[in-house]
């Protein structure tokens, strides 16, 4: 079965819809964006992920036209956006606060942008109706924003920003104000709408789960730079740096010194402990200082010592985080290092074998973790 995978970023012939070329943005002494280059392709659902203050909102505001780059240029379909004002860009934005006009009804809010284009009444009517259907808001069209729920407001904001059929839609923390359950539902709705309309979406979020769920590619940002731009599985399984590994999901980081041996590498990490054996794609030099990053779900935990298992380590259970479907065990190794292990609770609580202060054995395969040099 051959299914075409959507991956224009790996096609050297593909032209990006948006191109950041060495963009720098400074506010006074503060550098918000530092010499950043990036291409975003048509129909992508691109996520900008990072902690607050990392520059992701500044990037989005530059795309919308509310900020202009101090240096470098931003291109949309090959054209320099330069100082094109926000009202002349084929870019629309969905605001974090939704910014719905409180004095206008849902219908009028959605029609607002279309009316500015001086379209005729029937065309506006048809487009608004289409948007109302897409976001399932037909019943609420004559209500005012304060008369509908948070989730409905979010959909009005989405409908309003999509109404003008922009080339690019910017979403600033679109689900931040929703509660968890609604947020999860809405994530799938967003993906669905993105697919139906074929619009390029750029989403800004600090919620890594949200970014992983919705995005085709994720850009992890830190202090105005891109740390890694990759698909969600790549970001999770092959983080480029300890920063990415730590920011995305749960991870245990162990510092040590590398001793490469062919494809494999031995990491000496503590006196009196056997070295960790792992594989590394990058070539390492002997005695190079490295970090070994391993996800808790890739660590096997057991009360019995099984000598056949690779990378066997002994420790004591210090804490258990019970999450219902899974439990995370915080295991203190004899040298004081803390390692996290996760196991699914396929048995009921009463039958669970491992408890606090238990002596346990941890093990993981050679390919389970990643060796990071940064």
């Amino acid at each position: 079965m051959s299914q075409t995978v959507f991956a224009p970023w790996s096609d050297p012939g593909a032209k990006p819809l948006i191109e950041f070329r060495n963009v720098t943005k400074r506010f006074g002494d503060f550098t918000a964006i530092d010499g950043l280059s990036l291409g975003i392709y048509e129909k992508e659902f691109f996520a900008l992920l990072g902690p607050s203050g990392c520059g992701k909102t500044t990037m989005m505001r530059m795309l919308a036209g509310f900020e202009t780059p101090t240096e470098g240029s931003i291109l949309l379909s090959g054209q320099d956006l330069g100082r094109v004002p926000p009202n002349r860009r084929a870019v629309n934005m969905m605001f974090q606060s939704y910014a719905l006009f409180p004095h206008l009804s849902v219908w009028e809010n959605i029609a607002f942008g279309l009316k500015r284009e001086k379209q005729d009444k029937d065309a506006i009517d048809a487009r608004v109706t289409e948007m109302l259907r897409l976001t399932r808001l037909e019943k609420f069209k004559s209500r005012k924003p304060h008369q509908i729920s948070g989730g409905q407001r979010q959909r009005v904001a989405l409908a309003r920003s999509l109404a003008k059929a922009p080339k690019l839609l910017l979403l600033d923390e679109p689900l931040g104000a929703l509660d968890r359950k609604l947020r999860e539902e809405t994530q799938f709705e967003l993906m669905d709408i993105q697919e139906k309309t074929g619009t390029t979406f750029v989403i800004v979020t600090h919620d890594q789960e949200e970014a992983m769920t919705v995005a085709s590619r994720v850009a992890v940002m830190d202090e105005g730079r891109l740390v890694q731009v990759a698909t969600p599985p790549e970001i999770y399984e092959q983080p480029a740096t300890t920063y990415v590994a730590d920011f995305i999901g749960d991870v245990s980081l162990i510092a040590g010194r590398a001793k490469p041996a062919g494809e494999r590498v031995e990491i000496a990490w503590a006196e009196g402990q056997p070295p960790i054996v792992a594989t590394s794609e990058t070539s390492l030099s002997t005695d190079q200082s490295v970090h070994f990053a391993i996800r808790p779900e890739k660590v096997h935990i057991s009360k019995e010592r099984d000598e056949t298992r690779p990378n066997l380590l002994q420790g004591k259970v210090e804490d258990i985080a019970y999450l219902g479907n899974i439990s995370t065990y915080h295991v203190r190794l004899s040298d004081g290092t803390l390692l996290k292990a996760q196991s699914t609770n396929h048995r009921r609580l009463a039958n669970r074998g491992i408890t606090w202060e238990d002596e346990v054995y941890l093990s993981f395969t050679e390919t389970a973790g990643v060796v990071l040099t940064e």
Binding site: F66, N87, M93, F95, S97, A99, P102, H103, R116, H146
Partner: protein, 295 residues
Amino acid sequence: MRRLLIAVPYLWLLALFLIPFLIVFKISLSDITLSIPPYSPNLDLSAGWSGLVDFVRALDFENFVFLTQDDLYWKAYLSSVWIAFVSTLITLAVGYPIAYGMARADRSWQPTLLMLVILPFWTSFLIRVYSWMGILSTEGLLNQLLMNLWIIDEPLQILNTTTAVYIGIVYTYLPFMILPIYAALEKMDDALLEAAEDLGCSRLEAFWLVTWPLSRGGVIAGCFLVFIPAIGEFVIPSLLGGSDTLMIGKVLWEEFFSNRDWPVASAVAIVLLLILIVPIVLFQRNEQKAREAEG
């Protein structure tokens, strides 16, 4: 306990509004006499029931009829409403940009700016109006300045004209216009303007389509807060206005203190109150609508 709490404001209104109102109303139905008090009849309770009947029989609407006969009164009412209306428009034209500037100013500056708007209240209203006399008179500061700058050769006659009354009213009531408009603009989310621009508005369109409608509640409140007291204004026209400035507050004062015709003065006051009820009710309705929109 709850009834008691509700009763307090009603008792307050009864003692300080309704009872004085009834007294004024009664005087407006009486006749002028040269006595103390300068009107009759007076209720004589010692005469019993027949005294009360005589008292009520002696009351009539003569004074109200008189108000319609002499054109001074309706001209004064009309002129008051007109002056109040024009002053309200001028105050709005001056106050809106100030309120807008305050709301757009840096957050850290806003308390200071607010303070500056309220600061004039720290000085007595009367003193401030008197100082305008010093500014506007023919030998006043304004004329001296203009003459020293060679802009005019002859001093301008501003004091004792209706222009001076407008200046006085606009100056005095400006804070009442600025504060509600500022309150409305200050709560407005800046993202709304960005959203309007993002959807294709120019800055000016964004103002007309978003800022103006969202500040309308504040504008209406401010207009009423200026218009209602300005109609009955007495101090400003009598100190700054000339003899040709006809305002009902001044007429009332003259009837009461110069003519000592309490019954006609009371009738003037009652009619003024009736005229004011219309904008007051409209104002209340606007406030209620604003509360509902927020809730």
